[in-house]
Symmetry: C2
Subunit: 380 residues, 2 copies
């Protein structure tokens, strides 16, 4: 059977070279081969993310990385600001609550993120906070925090640590970790880096270390000081997912060879082309400006079309996989992932496939118009 084409908010399609990189023998994680692989991978990640901060490699899903960032920096009673605008900000909140942090929650209306003005207000009212937790891009509604830089800089100016979940956007949009003042940044590999899931990167700033060194991490597995100690030997504290490191290394090479700036710009072009074409097909964007995500486009379906039925018909007929909404958005929206190696070709495939399936609903899409609009947007 034909391979699925993943246009969901992760995991994403993987380049054949990355897939091939996994087909290698096991090596010892305490031998020179691994140390070379480890160092090279971290060096490449450092180039992609232009950061001088420490970068660690965790054998865990992205959420493990978020837990790691939070439990190393916050403890019982510490105040943390958590704006909530989707499932993934809820997760950060839940993690912070479990360790007994004092969470200042600001719940945003569905489909909206947080603006700098709003964030500033909350920071000013909570200047005794230890940290602020921000999801750069929450895939559940498809919301991106466009003013992340301003928010982080402001928080830093008030001596508040910035913990950023950039899992679903790192590589897909600009992310200047050091310049923006991001103390802990969690980076997913199976999203815009187009690598397989299972390992997660985390960056740690010098300011973060000041806080971390004063805490006793409740988790042994996620203890960053232990990662640091082993990192000095170019090793991980526990047996890492070696084959996924092979793959990540190759994935990062692909990004560096396309050029980080080009890689990101492709995500922008894709997003523009997708948005206009899908509007021509009859869908409308769910998220209002300025919170529309570059990497997840969420759309209201035309009247009478159930997102879950549409998703399953599309997949059944063409093996193109898109996502429906999550939680209360389950039957309200569809979500298109625009991540990693997604290119013009996949966009055209999606346009053609969606048009094909819309015929089931008696809707004849003007595909020519959709493609023309996509072309204008893509080449502009």
């Amino acid at each position: 059977m034909i391979d699925p084409l993943l246009l969901i908010p992760g995991p994403t399609n993987i380049h054949s070279e990355v897939v091939r990189a996994m087909a290698r023998p096991a090596i010892s994680h305490r031998a020179e081969e691994f140390r070379k692989l480890f160092e090279d991978t971290i060096e490449k990640a450092r180039k992609v993310f232009k950061t001088t901060h420490d970068i660690f490699l965790l054998t865990a899903s992205g959420t493990g990385g978020v837990e790691c960032a939070i439990v190393n920096t916050l403890s019982l009673g510490d105040k943390v600001i958590v704006p909530v605008y989707g499932e993934f900000s809820e997760r950060g909140l839940e993690i912070a609550r479990r360790i007994g942090a004092n969470c200042v929650v600001e719940k945003m209306p569905l489909g909206e993120g947080i603006s700098f003005e709003k964030a500033k207000e909350i920071i000013d009212a909570n200047s005794d906070a230890t940290a602020i937790f921000l999801v750069y891009n929450d895939t559940s509604p498809g919301v991106e925090i466009r003013e992340l830089e301003k928010i982080c800089r402001y928080a830093k100016s008030r001596n508040i640590l910035t913990i950023v979940d950039a899992i679903s956007i790192a590589g897909g949009d600009y992310l200047n970790i050091d310049e923006w003042g991001i103390d802990l940044c969690v980076i997913g590999t199976q999203k815009c880096l187009a690598s397989p899931p299972g390992v997660t990167l985390i960056t740690v700033s010098p300011d973060a270390w000041t806080t971390i060194s004063k805490k006793k991490c409740p988790s042994f597995y996620f203890d960053l000081e232990r990662y640091k100690k082993y990192s000095e030997k170019r090793e991980t504290p526990f047996t890492p997912a070696i084959h996924l490191v092979y793959a990540l290394n190759e994935g990062l090479s692909l990004i560096l060879s396309e050029g980080v700036e080009n890689w990101i710009k492709r995500h922008y072009r894709n997003r523009r082309a997708l948005a206009v074409a899908l509007e021509k097909i009859g869908f409308t964007e769910f998220v209002k400006e300025p919170f529309r995500s570059t990497t997840v486009i969420s759309l209201n379906c035309p009247q009478g079309i159930s997102p879950s039925v549409l998703v399953s018909r599309l997949y059944g007929k063409t093996r193109v996989l898109i996502a429906r909404g999550l939680g209360e958005l389950k039957e309200k929206i569809i979500r298109i992932g625009n991540m990693g190696i997604t290119s013009l070709r996949e966009i055209l495939t999606l346009i053609a496939s969606l048009s094909y399936v819309m015929l089931d609903y008696g809707v004849t899409v003007n595909v020519g118009e959709a493609i023309k609009a996509a072309r204008e947007a893509y080449e502009s």
Copy 2:
């Protein structure tokens, strides 16, 4: 360059079919393809481990699995019995301490494990304990707890939960989870299952659930109740290491096709052959009976031979990788991993390679004798 031959206590060599299994496209972890893969993998694991208990798949190193087992069942002030006889029992102790458990530590002399008699004594003196944590096979000295069954049964009879780290031995020696009364069992994939590292299995008994349901797990990432909820949908709560699941599935198939009993018996035969041959070469077993591990054979080197120099010469000349000791045993012992797909051929390779390198030390090994002894032991 020739691939390394791993005869270390994990990771181990991987069968080419298992390697190939990873070279597949990414799929969605929320799609039917993954649910089928997940169900099939759990079913196979259930057959290999002959258990009716729940089995969960964590995207984490083995230590993540141990942390998961401990933080779901113990909380502040709970008494836990921790016999200590190597680095991995130390890890369990450290994890339990971080959550504020009241740890009853029984430190055993180096190279010894815990006997049933000794364990019974401690259990009797601490009948108010919530749990006992036991490393079935601690690879750091090469110690196996031969009376695990009796200890677990006795602990259960006293209403004490049994948490077993079986990471480095599950698949390599008998492990009757249900029959022996193991409440939480942590199973590594990169050891005797001969799969790649990065995912870990954990089993949970009905008695364990009774305790877990009364606790609020401090970790979101390792929260077993969340795993259970998703498991009912044949999914994992967080994006799993999909490619490693492909591989594990294939690895489990290999075990089932060889037969679980045969797979284990091969480990026994290997151990016998290795031990006698290495004694002929001039090494002596470090661990005394009855604690000698089936899967890690630790040996004192002949006078004048430094373990680390020997390991590095052997690897440099032949790409056969064995391990030296850890911690205070660093310059005292070498350790041979006997795990997974290791067969007679690898044993013969090791005998020949070690004999070759011993010539560096002016030692002429009677290789014929060593092979003859190995043959007798292997075929007995």
